[in-house]
Symmetry: none
Subunit: 198 residues, 4 copies
DNA sequence: GATGAATGAGATTTCATTCAT
DNA sequence: AATGAATGAAATCTCATTCAT
């Protein structure tokens, strides 16, 4: 017996979780491989058993977490909801999912989001933007959203608004309690939907 | 005789300008002090005559340039314009920095924003947000903007929308020609103002 | 199988021994970390696995070796010998370190003694002086040594005489063969004991 | 008119005095050329107008000060005094002269005395030792000092005793008031003379 | 004489990565 | 799988010295 499934994938998961905490605390460049291993309670050589480099750890964090988010975005897009409600659903997913794990949000916003290096990442983030864009186009086709606004650009503006709120929470500069999160959802959605509406 | 205006401005300016170009090209962590000096055409030791560390170079770039931006924001706030037009003016100032100095915007968006904890940065950016927030409050007082939206939160959303557009340009994922910049101004302003309006 | 005793003792010991040789040859400031590593036959990075800095290497050399000396001084103090013989024993211990490990003595005399402010050093050397002082006081109590001399001061003078002889050997300005060492013992002890005697 | 003699040699003297203070405070290797210039209140480039290197500054400090001391030792040696009194005179010169300038003593004892590099220095210090040695030989010839002790070795022991007392004062570990200095003179002389006496 | 900007060799230290055990 | 000693490329920073003004 080699233990249950937790032990099976144990060390790899421990390392990944530790990396999120360490990156959140010190930033990617400010974190050493040894810090991650120490936080995970293993020898640092072990990290190279599971990952080929420090870089791949960050990439893995991104891939395994952003992919899930993307899946849910796709679900929203595929649904029968009107555009405005799809936008609302997306906003809620983004703001709520990440509230579950502030450290992960910190890493995503600070370290991953603007690294132009990771190609897989760029592709996946691009897809998230594309979904928002298509929802806006849908709204324009339905006659609910103004057709004279560039949907592409609008998707960036909306996404940026969402991300900045997350950043505000991450930096501790916006109140991030339960109520505030609910209010933030309304505010962003109201702003976006009314801004886009005919 | 001390040569042309470049020499006039001095090596400090040359180093700062070179640093912006080098950071824009390779990122802060991907740039070596020697690269900056080489780009400036001076010995690397000279950098330490003017700055105490590589880090201080980045901080100086931020401080000297964001400070200027902030000055202009303050000018807008102090003007007699209605809130919507103030918002428009701020958006224009911010977005036009891109065409003005793309390298600088790249560094600001990619490197400064992710930098560990430049306290000066936090303070000054906070002030920029505060200006937007006060303009929104003014609009609410004038009855032009909806009073039921949290001005604080709204300011983050608006600012985030603007910053994300800059990011799109920096990452080469949004078209960034003259026309597109003009269109982006309109789009963001329309979205924000109509989103905020009664 | 892990090889002979050199390998047994480990790289840390190798580095420390190499440092003594290198410091003796070129002086602390004239030696580079890379020289020590090369002399030890390891990569220079390894030095930082065992010590936090070049400085700590010197401090460790001092601590681990002077500590041993001090132990032996304490043994002498604790013995039942009359004061004059204790002084003689201490002188022999100190002077014989030269033939035992000339490089070590060189480093101690030339580099440690001039080092900025190794606090450990100050404390331990102080203790060595204190032992000599207590032995003198004992001699005064026994009526063998003159009571009108300040024991504290006398301990410095005696210790200084010993150290200067070591310095003469280190600088190559006093002959340092087997015979000369034996003669030096007698000379210093004669001088000190007769000088102190009633 | 270019001012009086003080102004004439003004800056050079200022630099030398400043160097003594700075070296005393931080040690030779811990002091930067810029520190010396700052302490002297001049630009650091000026140091190179008067001295060819940082090293030459230290050498100059030694030469200009130790030479004076040596002159006085020579005077004592040339006098008609008996050996014991010559020894006493030398001890007084050493302990008193240096008490006039604690910083200078600090530098001499800590930075100069054990640098095997400066050849001029080695020669002059050697001469000082030689004087003490010849005085001891004289005492032996006069029948006052024991002939069975090695005069060379004895001179080092005596000189070392003196230097160590200076070191104790420099390090602040021996009380260094007016009275203590007088007592130290007696102690050292008593020890040495009685130790050497028949 | 005097200044201080400019130079650049050189040194310490860091840390991702490898690998023998 | 797991460890952590060992490696060594690479980077920042220091500072004595030079030199144009």
């Amino acid at each position: 017996m080699t233990g249950g499934s937790v032990a099976q994938e144990g060390k790899r998961k421990q390392l990944l979780d530790a990396a999120v905490r360490v990156f959140a605390r010190s930033g990617y460049h400010g974190s050493r491989v040894g810090d991650i291993a120490a936080e995970a309670g293993v020898a640092h050589g072990l990290l190279y058993h599971y990952f080929s480099s420090k870089d791949e750890v960050l990439e893995t964090i991104f891939r395994e977490n952003f992919g899930e988010l993307l899946e849910r975005f796709r679900g929203v897009e595929a649904s029968e909801l009107p555009a405005a409600e799809k936008l609302e659903a997306i906003a809620k997913i983004l703001l709520r999912t990440w509230r579950n794990d502030p450290d992960l949000v910190t890493v995503m916003v600070r370290d991953v989001a603007r690294s132009p290096q990771l190609q897989a990442q760029v592709d996946e983030v691009r897809e998230a933007f594309a979904i928002v864009e298509r929802v806006i186009v849908q709204g324009q086709a339905e006659g609910a959203f103004r057709a004279d606004l560039d949907a592409r650009l609008a998707s960036w503006v909306v996404y940026g608004g969402l991300e900045e709120v997350l950043t505000g929470w991450v930096l501790g500069q916006l109140p991030a309690g339960e109520d505030e999160v609910a209010r933030a959802e309304r505010t962003v959605v109201e702003l976006a939907v009314r801004g886009l509406s005919v």
